[in-house]
Symmetry: C2
Subunit: 87 residues, 2 copies
């Protein structure tokens, strides 16, 4: 849970998630979308991976990244508690 909020606490990483919502992408394709170095994006992808918000799959020379929405459910469940006030 901690990892998830940590992963979401960065505009670049949130933007990566929004990109992946539209289609799976390779690390290189993602890098092209930003003005940040490859290694930095790689690091962001690593944090997203640790949070299990994305899944990485190797295909030959490339690594394809895709969304994993099951964690999104967990966050929403956690958030929902606040909509039902009182213990």
């Amino acid at each position: 849970m901690n990892n998830v909020f940590k992963a979401l606490n960065d505009p670049t990483r949130r933007e990566i998630l929004e990109l992946l919502r539209k289609k799976d992408m390779t690390a290189g394709e993602i890098v092209e979308k930003f003005r940040i170095s490859g290694p930095s994006i790689s690091h962001h992808l690593d944090l997203l991976k640790q949070a299990k918000l994305v899944i990485a799959e190797k295909e030959g020379q490339f690594i394809y990244y895709s969304l994993n929405t099951t964690v999104v459910d967990e966050i929403m469940t956690w958030l929902l508690q606040f909509k039902s006030k009182k213990k």
Copy 2:
């Protein structure tokens, strides 16, 4: 939006939110629930306030903190986009 994720990215602050879900509390009451100094908690409360996740109201000598769930809706809306894949 950035402020919200920043505010949520700390276990102490998330715990404060969970406490406030049960009932409104003064800063002092919140401090008692943790082993962290008053000033540190005050700082956490400030970040939660900036994110509009809590509301502070002065009552005489005390400041009462309470949840503001409207921001929770915004986060959930943002998260929901990921549940409907494809552009």
